[in-house]
């Protein structure tokens, strides 16, 4: 347990010390909020779908958490290149604990970043309908953070360098975000798109968060929690398997 704690703490320290990247990671959500949020607002309202900022904010928070988590997961590649992973891997600590420490660290960092963006959405005019369901919202944010952090770490386990990064970002991370119902409603979609969004676990994260904030949902809130937890477990299992196979 102590090993998990110190790995978690290390991630946190690294996060707090990199002020520039904290600010940098807020840039994209702000642009989305301004460009999409205000830009598409009139169309959205005319279509009779209501307030777009209200709709978009949970999606933007999920985006922040997803991107930040994947990045921290991928930091394992840096650890590999800078030799620090060797120090961790020769220690008498089971690989699953190393993975959990990393994943929880990444998830915590991403939640902090997501919380910052949540504050920013409030300035943009977003209002949670029921403030009492905020803890539920944080549960969804945590589950999304944990899932994406585990995904990042599992992918990074077998990559040697950052050269594969654009591939992962463009073919894994971006589709997971754009096809999650973060920026458009999941109703009345073409059949193919409908299918893809239904098998994307992040659709359930966005939907759950939207339910917690605004009381609007497509999937059952329990189904969303179950999907996020189930997929996380599968990915952690896969990640442990990958970690055990790593030879340095």
């Amino acid at each position: 347990m102590n090993a998990i704690y110190i790995l978690w703490l290390r991630q946190l320290k690294r996060f707090i010390r990199k002020k520039a990247s904290i600010v940098g990671a807020i840039g994209q959500p702000i642009i989305f909020l301004l460009a999409f949020g205000f830009g598409l607002s009139p169309v959205f309202a005319k279509a009779g779908a209501g307030n777009y900022i209200q709709f978009l904010a949970p999606g933007i928070i999920v985006m922040t958490v997803l991107f930040t988590s994947i990045f921290t997961g991928l930091e394992i590649i840096w650890d590999k290149q800078f030799g620090f992973l060797k120090e961790t891997f020769v220690a008498p600590v089971p690989r699953y604990q190393i993975l959990l420490g990393k994943v929880l660290g990444g998830a915590t960092v991403a939640m902090a970043q997501g919380f910052l963006v949540f504050i920013i959405t409030l300035f943009a005019g977003f209002r949670p309908v029921n403030w009492l369901s905020l803890p539920l919202a944080f549960l969804y944010i945590f589950l999304v953070a944990f899932l994406s952090s585990a995904l990042g770490a599992s992918i990074a386990a077998r990559l040697e360098d950052m050269q594969g990064f654009p591939l992962i970002f463009n073919f894994v991370v971006q589709p997971l975000f754009y096809l999650s119902g973060a920026i458009f409603p999941l109703q009345n979609l073409p059949a193919a798109l409908n299918f893809v969004t239904k098998i994307n676990p992040f659709s359930y994260g966005v939907d759950g968060l939207r339910f917690a904030f605004s009381g609007v949902n497509i999937f059952s809130p329990f189904l969303s929690i179950a999907v996020l937890m189930g997929v996380s477990l599968i990915i952690i299992g896969f990640g442990v398997y990958q970690f055990k196979k790593v030879q340095l």
Binding site: I6, K13, K86, F89, V90, P92
Partner: protein
């Protein structure tokens, strides 16, 4: 203390380590020598659980390394050939990270970290970020860190590479004292033969993945019929210059060389 039996390591069809066997006794200072790409680092990685041998067995402190990696890991400390510190943490934090990872108790590690940092003369820099350290300071910190959990064996893979004579002298003095005072078994590699002659009790020379000879320094010089260990080394391994690190990717080499600067 260390026993290697018929160990082979293949990467694809390249045999990096070809059926090596040797023993290191408890409390011994053992030098593992060989030209670049001879299989030294690969062997150390197999001894320290980072690589699995293709065949053969390794025992360390009584534990079978492949079957019982966690117990093995508690028994040794290691200073890698390439830096393995977290540059974004301070010297103290790097030490603390290691202590907690190895399950050293707080009341023990608090004192031990101070002692070790004083020993390697970095105590006044304990709160500085490692990224501000010179190569020699990083090396000293890594040695201190490798000793933190009271290992019975300390592996040093070219610990003095790229260091000035003063720092090298310092480091070998520490290591020698450590062996004398705490009885730590030392297993090291180097290209500096005078370092070997200065502190090693026994030596093995490896080339092309095979152990050519092992024994005391005198025995090796005698068998090779030469005047010095350096001459014996060259006559045994030939005088052609080797490619660096045959088994490590180009990219890794580039990064390593960047870090060494």
């Amino acid at each position: 203390m260390i026993e290697v039996k018929n160990v082979v390591k293949k990467f694809g069809d390249f045999t990096a380590v070809d059926n090596i066997s040797f023993k290191v006794n408890k409390g011994e200072i053992f030098a593992f020598l060989g030209p670049n790409g001879a299989g030294k680092t690969t062997s150390i990685k197999m001894l320290t659980t980072l690589l699995k041998p293709t065949s053969g067995e390794v025992f360390l402190n009584g534990h079978n390394v492949t079957e019982n990696p966690d117990e093995t890991r508690k028994s040794f400390g290691i200073v890698f050939q390439d830096p393995s510190l977290d540059n974004e943490l301070t010297a103290y934090e790097n030490m603390q990270f290691h202590a907690i990872l190895y399950g050293v108790k707080k009341e023990v590690y608090k004192k031990r970290i101070v002692d070790l940092l004083k020993m390697v003369e970095l105590y006044d820099r304990k709160d500085s970020f490692v990224k501000t350290f010179s190569g020699g300071m990083k090396r000293r910190l890594e040695i201190a860190r490798g000793l933190l959990h009271h290992p019975t064996v300390l592996f040093l893979d070219e610990p003095t590479i790229g260091l000035d004579p003063q720092t090298r002298n310092h480091i070998w003095t520490y290591i020698n004292e450590l062996n004398k005072k705490e009885g730590v078994t030392i297993f090291f590699t180097t290209h500096h033969m005078e370092e070997v002659e200065r502190i090693a009790k026994r030596v093995a020379i490896i080339d092309h993945g095979k152990i050519l000879i092992d024994g005391t320094i005198e025995e090796i010089i005698k068998k090779a019929g030469k005047e010095s260990l350096e001459d014996a080394f060259i006559s045994l391994t030939g005088s052609t210059i080797r490619d660096e690190k045959a088994n490590i990717g180009k990219n890794q080499m580039r990064i390593n060389s960047k870090l060494m600067r």
